[in-house]
C-alpha cells in the first residue's frame, strides 16, 4: 500500500473511473533535467499507453529573486541586473527596463540611439532564432543541421562581441541612450556579415522548406487553434503560427516607427507553422538591420537623466519569444519601489498545456520546444503541495 502511495506521487499508475469503464493512466515527470530541454522545467504527463491525455506544469527552478533585488539597488545599476534575467534575450530586458524608466524620469532618447537600440535588438533576435532552430533540429535527432545552424550563429556572436563588448551579454543599453556607437569600418563589416548570413540561410532553407523527414515530425503536431490562442493569451511566434497577427513592434516604440515591416503570420497552427514563422523572421531581422543602417541619422548617443523616477510606467517590447512586459513604480527617490517582469514564456505555458493532449510521447520534445521555452526568464513560481513536497 505504501509503495502505491509513493508511486502516485512520483509517477505511476492511477485508476480513474469514467462512467462505467475504468481506465488506467500513467503519470510520469518530464524534466527538470532532460537532454532536450535547455532549461529546467517540470512537466507531468498523464498518458494512456503512448497517447498523452493531460499535462501540468511546475516552474520555479530558476528563481533568483531578481524582482526583489531590483528594489535594493538604485535605478541606474539595475540595468545590469535586469539584463541577467535571460542570457539569450538580454538586450530586450535591458531595453524594456530602460524604456519604462525613461517614461518615469522624462528623458527623450536621441534618434541615433533609438536606431542603434533597434539594431542590437534585431541582432539578439537573430541569435535567439538561430539557436532555437538548432535546438529543434537536435530535438529531432538531426544533429548535423544543429551544428550547421550554430556555426552560422557564430557570425552573430562575433558581431555582438565586436560592437557590444561581449558575446552574450551586450550591456550597451543605459537609461537615456546607449553606451557605444557603431560607425565607420565597423558598420561596413556589420553589413557584410549580414549579407553573408543571408547567403548561408539560403543554403539551409531547402532543408526546412522541403525536407520530408523534417516535415513528417513537425507537420500536424501540437495544434493550437485560433480561438485557443486568443483565449489563453499566447504571444509571439506561438500565436502568430496560429493566425493571430499580433506583433508589439507595430506599436512603434524606439525606431520601429520609421521602419516598414509586417508581422510574419502562418495559419496552420502546428509546430511546422511556428518553425516557418521563426525562419522567416530571421530574414526579416536581417532586412530590418540593413534598412536601419541606411536611414540612421547622426547625433548624440546618450542623454543624462535630470530627475528622480516618480510614478508608474508600463513598457512592452517584442522579444524573440513574444511580448515582454515590465511594470515599474518609483517614488521620488533613487530606488524603485516595485519592478514586475512578465516574460513571454510564462504567457505561452497555458497554450503549451492546451496543445499537448492527443499526441504521442515521442512528440513531446518537439512540441515543448516549439514554444521556445526560456525558463530562465520565467523565474518565479514555486508550487508547493500539501505535504511540503514539490
Amino acid at each position: 500500500m505504501k509503495l502505491l502511495e509513493r508511486l502516485k506521487d512520483v509517477g505511476g499508475v492511477i485508476g480513474m473511473s469514467e462512467g462505467k469503464t475504468t481506465r488506467k493512466y500513467t503519470i510520469f515527470p518530464f524534466g527538470p533535467q532532460h537532454p532536450v530541454l535547455p532549461e529546467p522545467i517540470q512537466l507531468r504527463f498523464m498518458v494512456d499507453e503512448e497517447k498523452i491525455v493531460d499535462a501540468s506544469v511546475n516552474v520555479g527552478y530558476v528563481h533568483r529573486g531578481i524582482e526583489r533585488a531590483c528594489e535594493l539597488n538604485d535605478y541606474q545599476r539595475n540595468v545590469y541586473l535586469c539584463e541577467r534575467v535571460c542570457g539569450i534575450c538580454n538586450f530586450m530586458h535591458a531595453l524594456c527596463y530602460c524604456m519604462a524608466l525613461e517614461k518615469l524620469v522624462d528623458v527623450e532618447v536621441p534618434e541615433r540611439a533609438q536606431y542603434l537600440r533597434v539594431i542590437w535588438a534585431e541582432l539578439n533576435r537573430l541569435e535567439s532564432h538561430l539557436l532555437w532552430l538548432g535546438l529543434l533540429a537536435d530535438a529531432m535527432g538531426f544533429e548535423s543541421l544543429f551544428m550547421q545552424f550554430w556555426r552560422d550563429r557564430e557570425i552573430v556572436m562575433d558581431l555582438q562581441e565586436r560592437t557590444g563588448g561581449n558575446r552574450v551579454i551586450i550591456s550597451t543599453c543605459v537609461v537615456g541612450g546607449v553606451r557605444r556607437d557603431i560607425s565607420g569600418q565597423l558598420a561596413e563589416h556589420f553589413k557584410e556579415s549580414m549579407l553573408e548570413l543571408k547567403r548561408r540561410m539560403d543554403k539551409l532553407a531547402p532543408v526546412i522548406l522541403k525536407d520530408s523527414a523534417f516535415k513528417k515530425r513537425t507537420v500536424g503536431k501540437g495544434f493550437l487553434s485560433y480561438d485557443d490562442a486568443l483565449k489563453l493569451g499566447a504571444v509571439g511566434p506561438t500565436a502568430r503560427g496560429s493566425g493571430v497577427a499580433k506583433d508589439i513592434r507595430l506599436e512603434g516604440y524606439q525606431a520601429y516607427k520609421h521602419l516598414k515591416f509586417e508581422p510574419v503570420v502562418e495559419k496552420d497552427g502546428d509546430v511546422y507553422a511556428r518553425t516557418l514563422v521563426r525562419f522567416y523572421e530571421v530574414y526579416q531581422a536581417i532586412d530590418l538591420i540593413l534598412e536601419a543602417f541606411k536611414i540612421m541619422p547622426e547625433g548624440k548617443i546618450a542623454v543624462k537623466p535630470e530627475k528622480w523616477p516618480e510614478g508608474e510606467a508600463v513598457a512592452r517590447v517584442e522579444q524573440p519569444r513574444g511580448e515582454l512586459f515590465y511594470y515599474v513604480k518609483g517614488n521620488g527617490t533613487n530606488r524603485l519601489e516595485r519592478v514586475k517582469i512578465r516574460t513571454p514564456t510564462l504567457a505561452n505555458i497555458p497554450s503549451l498545456l492546451a496543445m499537448l493532449p492527443g499526441y504521442e510521447v515521442a512528440d513531446i520534445p518537439v512540441i515543448v520546444l516549439s514554444i521556445d521555452p526560456c525558463i530562465a526568464c520565467t523565474e518565479r513560481i514555486i508550487n508547493i503541495r500539501k505535504d511540503g513536497r514539490r
Binding site: 503519470i27 507531468r44 498523464m46 493531460d54 499535462a55 501540468s56 506544469v57 516552474v59 529573486g65 526583489r68 528594489e71 538604485d74 541606474q76 517614461k103 486568443l230 483565449k231 489563453l232 493569451g233 507595430l250 506599436e251 516604440y253 516607427k257 546618450a302 543624462k304 537623466p305 535630470e306 530627475k307 528622480w308 510606467a313 508600463v314 513598457a315 512592452r316 511580448e323 512586459f325 511594470y327 513604480k329 517614488n331 527617490t333 533613487n334 530606488r335 524603485l336 519601489e337 516595485r338 514586475k340 512578465r342 510564462l346 504567457a347 505555458i349 497555458p350 497554450s351 498545456l353 492546451a354 518565479r380 513560481i381 514555486i382 508550487n383 508547493i384 503541495r385 500539501k386 511540503g388
Partner: protein, 592 residues
C-alpha cells in the same frame, strides 16, 4: 510612441463583473502585479486591448480573500499561483492548472514566504566636496559653480550670500584654498572658483537686495572693529533681527580690507559700495572714527552681547640694533598711509622689502607704483616656505620684483641716502614649531646692502582694546573657548585676527559667521543654518566631453600698464567665459 495606459479602480464587489466585461471585449490577459504596502496589498491586473494596456487596481487587506479570475481567464492560474505563494494572499477557487483532470491538490501550505520589501532605503545625500571642505567660510562651492553653469546667476549669488556677505570683495582678494582642494589641480587646471565668484557679484551688481529681515528681537549688540569679521557678524545678526552697532577707529569701514589691501587688488569704490549695500540690508549702524579707549567702561553700557574683532595692526619688530632709523619703515604703517590717508610717499629708486608674507608682496608692489625702479624682497627661508600665496608671488615677479632667499637682517649700519643695512646668509636647519625648517645663520657670511628705503614686513601682532578684565595670551591675542568663541567675560565674544593671529579675509569672514551663529543662540534665538546636504539630484557630467575642456584664462592688464597706476590688474570673466569655465566642474558633490 508610448504605450497608452488606462487605470481602472475597483473594489472587491465589482472585480469579477469588470473581468467579465473585459472578456466580452476580447481583452488579452497579461499578468498580475502585487505590492505589499505595509497595511494592505495593492494588486493590479494588467490586460491588453487593441494596443492599450488596462490596469485594474484593487486594494485588499491582509486577511481578506480575493476571488480568483480563472473562471473567466483560465490562463491566469500561473500568475495567481505566483502571488499566492509569494505574498501569502488568500485566493479562492484557484486551479493549479488549466482545470484539467490532473493534480487536484487541495490548498497548499506555505513553506517559503518571500519577505516583502519593507519601505524603500533612503537615498544617500550629497557629499561635502573637497573645495567646500577647504573654504574657511564654508561656502557651498560646488552648488554655486553648478548654478553658474546652468546660467542661474541670481541663485548662485544667493548661495554665496548664505555664508559670506561680500562676494565682490572675496572674488578679488581671497587666496582661494578651494582651488587647491579642487581635484583638477592635479592636472594643473583647477576651476577658477574665485573668478567665478567675482563674475557673479559683478553680474548681479552691487546694490541693496530685498532680503527679508526677521522680526526685531529688541536685543542690542555691539561690535568692536569693522573689519571682515566684525562686518560679517553684524550682517547676519542684523538679518536675524537684532539691533547692531559697529564701532571702528578708521574713517571708513573695512578694517584690513580698507587699510592694507591696495587699490589695484581691491578698488576702494567697490569695497565701500558693497559694505554699504550689505549694512543697509541688515540695518546696521556704523559708528566710524570712534576708537574704544577703555573696554571695561564700554562693557558697562548695557549691551546684551559684545563681539570684539579688532584685528592685528601692529608690526613685529626685527629685534636688531638701529631699527628705529627713519628710512626703515613699518609695512603696515606705509600701507595705512597710502590707503587710508591717500598719501604718496617718496621711497626713492631702490627699495628692499624684508619678509615673505602677503603684506610683503603688497608693500613691494605698492613701492613699484610709488616710483621705485628696483624692488627686491629678502626672505630668510626659500621660496617653497614663503607664506605668501603663490598667485601674489607670481604677480609680483611679473611686475619685476626680484627675490633673494636665505638672507636675514643683522644690523642697521646707518647713512642717509642710501641707507646701509647688514645682512647675513642663512641655511636651513631642523624644523621649528610651525613645521618649516628653521634658518640658521652661516657665520662669517655678512654682507652689506644699500637702498633708499627698507620696509619691514615680517609679521603682525593682534591689537586688542585696552582692558584689564579680558584675558590675553602672551602674544596679545584674546583667549577664547575655541568652540563658543566666548572670552572669560560672559557675553563678550571675540574672533578674527585678534584671536588667531594674522590670517586671511576669508577666515575672518568664517569667524564672523560662526560668531553670529553663537551670539544668536546665546541670546535665545535659533541661530543660522549650517551647510545643508540637500536631497537634490545632481546630474552627472558627461565624462568624455568634460575631459576635453581646458581652463579658461582670465584677461589681465598688460604688464607695462600695471605698474603705472593703481588700476585693477585682473579684468574678470565675461559671461561666455564664466559659463564655459563653470561647465568644466566635475561635480564632486555627486553621490547616489
Amino acid at each position: 510612441m508610448a504605450t497608452q495606459v488606462v487605470d481602472v479602480f475597483v473594489d472587491k464587489a465589482n472585480l469579477i463583473p469588470k473581468i467579465y466585461e473585459l472578456a466580452a471585449s476580447k481583452a488579452r490577459f497579461i499578468t498580475i502585479t502585487c505590492k505589499d504596502v505595509g497595511d494592505f496589498f495593492e494588486v493590479i491586473y494588467h490586460f491588453e486591448e487593441d494596443l492599450k494596456v488596462i490596469n485594474v487596481r484593487i486594494k485588499i487587506g491582509k486577511n481578506e480573500v480575493l476571488p480568483s479570475i480563472t473562471t473567466v481567464y483560465p490562463c491566469a492560474f500561473l500568475a495567481e499561483n505566483e502571488i499566492k505563494d509569494m505574498f501569502n494572499l488568500n485566493i479562492v477557487g484557484l486551479n493549479p492548472d488549466l482545470g484539467g483532470k490532473l493534480l487536484k491538490t487541495a490548498e497548499a501550505t506555505q513553506t517559503t514566504l518571500l519577505k516583502p520589501a519593507v519601505g524603500v532605503q533612503p537615498p544617500k545625500f550629497r557629499v561635502k566636496a573637497r573645495c567646500a571642505q577647504q573654504c574657511p567660510a564654508g561656502i557651498d562651492v560646488p552648488r554655486y559653480v553648478r548654478l553658474i553653469s546652468q546660467e542661474k546667476y541670481m541663485e548662485a549669488f544667493q548661495t554665496i550670500l548664505e555664508k559670506a556677505p561680500f562676494p565682490a570683495i572675496l572674488g578679488r582678494v581671497c587666496f582661494a584654498p578651494c582651488e587647491e582642494g579642487c581635484r583638477q589641480a592635479k592636472n594643473g587646471q583647477p576651476i577658477s572658483i574665485r573668478l567665478l565668484k567675482r563674475f557673479v557679484a559683478d553680474y548681479v551688481g552691487i546694490k541693496k537686495l530685498n532680503i527679508k529681515k526677521s522680526k526685531s528681537t529688541g536685543k542690542k549688540i555691539a561690535i568692536v572693529g569693522a573689519g571682515p569679521a566684525g562686518l560679517t557678524a553684524a550682517y547676519y545678526l542684523g538679518l536675524l533681527g537684532h539691533e547692531v552697532t559697529v564701532f571702528d577707529e578708521l574713517p571708513k569701514p573695512g578694517g584690513a580690507m580698507f587699510a592694507y589691501i591696495p587699490e589695484y587688488r581691491l578698488p576702494k569704490k567697490i569695497l565701500e559700495a558693497e559694505v554699504n549695500a550689505r549694512m543697509e540690508e541688515a540695518e546696521v549702524e556704523l559708528k566710524l572714527k570712534r576708537k574704544i579707549e577703555n573696554l571695561d567702561t564700554f562693557l558697562d553700557e548695557g549691551y546684551d552681547a559684545v563681539f570684539i574683532a579688532t584685528g592685528a595692526h601692529q608690526d613685529v619688530r626685527l629685534g636688531i640694533e638701529g631699527e628705529e632709523h627713519p628710512k626703515v619703515l613699518n609695512c603696515l604703517q606705509l600701507l595705512r598711509e597710502v590707503n587710508v590717508h591717500g598719501k604718496k610717499p617718496k621711497l626713492g629708486e631702490k627699495v628692499v622689502v624684508i619678509g615673505g608674507g602677503n603684506s610683503a608682496m603688497d608693500a613691494a608692489r605698492v613701492s613699484l607704483r610709488l616710483g621705485a625702479k628696483d624692488v627686491t624682497v629678502f626672505y630668510r627661508r626659500t621660496r617653497k616656505e614663503m607664506p605668501a600665496s603663490p598667485r601674489e608671488v607670481e604677480e609680483a615677479e611679473a611686475e619685476g620684483v626680484k627675490f633673494e632667499f636665505l638672507v636675514a637682517p643683522s644690523k642697521v649700519l646707518g647713512g642717509s641716502s642710501p641707507v646701509k643695512m647688514e645682512f647675513i646668509r642663512m641655511k636651513l636647519g631642523a624644523p621649528d614649531a610651525s613645521g618649516r625648517p628653521r634658518p640658521e645663520p652661516i657665520p662669517g657670511s655678512e654682507f652689506t646692502v644699500e637702498a633708499d628705503t627698507f620696509i619691514k614686513a615680517i609679521g603682525q601682532v593682534a591689537t586688542a582694546p585696552k582692558t584689564s578684565k579680558l584675558k590675553l595670551d602672551r602674544r596679545g591675542q584674546i583667549e577664547v573657548n575655541p568652540e563658543t568663541l566666548e572670552t572669560n567675560i560672559r557675553g563678550v565674544f571675540a574672533g578674527g585676527d585678534v584671536v588667531t593671529g594674522p590670517a586671511s579675509v576669508t577666515e575672518a569672514i568664517g569667524a564672523g559667521w560662526k560668531a553670529a551663529n553663537i551670539i544668536d543662540r546665546f541670546l535665545g534665538g535659533r541661530g543660522l543654518k549650517e551647510y545643508e546636504l540637500a536631497e537634490e539630484l545632481i546630474p552627472r557630467i558627461d565624462v568624455k566631453e568634460v575631459l576635453e575642456l581646458s581652463k579658461v584664462p582670465v584677461k589681465l592688464l598688460p604688464v607695462e600698464e600695471r605698474i603705472k597706476s593703481f588700476d585693477e590688474v585682473e579684468l574678470g570673466y565675461s559671461i561666455d567665459e564664466a559659463v564655459r569655465e563653470a561647465k568644466r566642474c566635475w561635480r564632486c558633490d555627486w553621490y547616489e
